[in-house]
């Protein structure tokens, strides 16, 4: 399976085609909980990136020694160790951000997207592919977090990265930074994503049809 795709393709697929949020709809807990501002979304994305790449690397490296019967518990031990490292490092280096994300950092352990990648990909592929896949998937996760976080911050506070955008006369749409706003924005983003994918597919079909028609037409003429 790994031989017919390049490592680059493994990375790219996570960003858009198999985006963990918009396509697989995984990791919804951090997705909805911490995306009330763009900076929180970015830091959460970076933390997830570190944990996913680290655990994919380890799981893929040690896959021969991991007995099938206890693999899930071993994955969780590996993931939890990385999460603890992230938690303490953030607390030491970025205490202000840690204050905001607080309870959600330990919850990365329970992010089904990370466990899902170990079970579905890292445990079956070479280290190189596993790491590329993890980079792509966490990149896609970060894109989705940032999309949600920036929309909610712009509409709910009238700012982006804490920089005021609209001046004093802007009346913030407060519901957007509260939990209902998260669900609303996520639903609309999913709608947009699926609509766009569908449109793209139809367009590609049309192009293919036209090409086929042109080719057969040329054949006939020739």
């Amino acid at each position: 399976m790994a031989t017919d795709t390049t490592a680059y393709e493994e990375m790219i697929k996570g960003l858009w085609r198999d985006n963990p949020v918009f396509v697989q709809v995984l990791g919804m807990c951090p997705m909805l909980a911490v995306t009330n501002s763009a900076i929180n979304a970015i830091v959460m994305g970076l933390a997830t990136f570190f944990v996913l790449v680290g655990s994919s690397f380890l799981v893929s490296s040690f896959k021969q020694w991991i007995p099938k019967q206890v693999r899930i518990s071993l994955y969780i031990i590996i993931i939890a160790t990385f999460v603890t490292v992230v938690d303490y490092s953030l607390l030491a280096m970025l205490p202000a951000i840690h204050k905001e994300l607080g309870a959600f950092i330990p919850l990365i352990v329970a992010n089904c997207m990370i466990l899902g990648r170990q079970e579905a990909f890292a445990s079956k592929h070479n280290v190189k592919y596993a790491v590329m896949d993890a980079v792509g998937m966490s990149g896609g996760f970060m894109i989705a977090l940032f999309a949600l976080g920036s929309v909610r911050e712009i509409l709910g506070v009238g700012a982006l990265f804490g920089v005021d955008l609209f001046g004093a006369n802007f009346e913030p749409w407060v519901i957007m930074i509260l939990p209902p706003g998260g669900f609303l924005t996520l639903g609309l983003l999913l709608l947009f994503f699926n609509w766009f994918t569908e449109r793209r597919r139809q367009f590609l079909d049309k192009v293919a049809d036209a090409e086929r028609a042109a080719v057969t037409g040329v054949d006939k003429n020739g």
Binding site: S37, P67, I77, T81, I177
Partner: protein, 232 residues
């Protein structure tokens, strides 16, 4: 590779499962201990610095502080690093003269416990400032209790003769009333309630004017030394 795959399919004995779990747990434990020890000092320093900065902020003009713990009906100076609910902070100017107290209080906010620190001058019974040490109020709304400088400013030179009250913005009529934040009334009222509660708890415990705890000298020396090294 094929060999190991065969071994896997042969249902490894429970001994092997236990050993692999134990090895993973052991390595994980060592890594967690290592990162804990590596970051422990930085985290402790961050917390101590945050607290010192908060005390200096709520009590203007303070150069030194010391911790006071309420034991056996009196305030005693403590030097430990820890901090608990029965502790307040005394601020002194550069000559070691007593200025005022920084009192802490905790209470429920909109989402979780809010931890408040406020400065109090017993000489004129004024609150000199307020700082939120810890809170998990809604970002963008409840977190205005420390981000909205108008609200924080309400607590500068606020007379504390009777309990303060949070009223709707613009409805402020009396000296003991402050404007609540629009859209964050619950959080604003929570801050006011916590301050009232902490004040009523501590005001009988604070010694009479003139009997304030003296700044202990080694503290002064220590601070001077650290100031000098910082300057150098």
């Amino acid at each position: 590779m094929t060999n190991t795959n065969k071994n896997l399919e042969l249902e490894p004995g429970s001994q092997r499962l236990i050993v692999s779990m134990a090895v993973a747990g052991f390595i994980s434990g060592i890594i967690i201990i290592a990162i804990y020890m590596l970051t422990f000092n930085t985290i402790k320093e961050n917390k101590a610095r945050e607290l010192r900065e908060a005390v200096f902020k709520v009590l203007p003009g303070v150069s030194f502080m010391q911790k006071l713990h309420f034991d056996d009906n009196k305030l005693v100076v403590v030097k430990s690093d820890g901090m608990d609910d029965e502790m307040i902070f005394a601020g002194y100017d550069e000559k070691g003269q007593f200025i005022g107290y920084a009192i802490q209080g905790k209470g429920p906010g909109f989402q979780d416990t809010i931890h408040v620190l406020f400065g109090y001058l017993s000489s004129n019974q004024n609150i000199t400032g307020m700082e939120i040490l810890d809170s998990r109020e809604t970002p963008g709304l409840g977190d205005k209790i420390f981000k909205d400088m108008d609200f924080v400013g309400e607590f500068i030179n606020l007379p504390m003769i009777k309990d303060i009250k949070a009223v709707k913005k613009g409805k402020k009529a009396n000296d003991n009333e402050i404007d609540a934040i629009t859209g964050a009334t619950i959080s604003s009222k929570a801050v006011v309630r916590i301050i009232n509660k902490a004040f009523n708890k501590w005001s009988p415990r604070i010694p009479q004017q003139g009997n304030e705890p003296v700044l202990e000298l080694d503290e002064l020396k220590e601070k001077n030394v650290s100031n000098k090294t910082e300057n150098g």
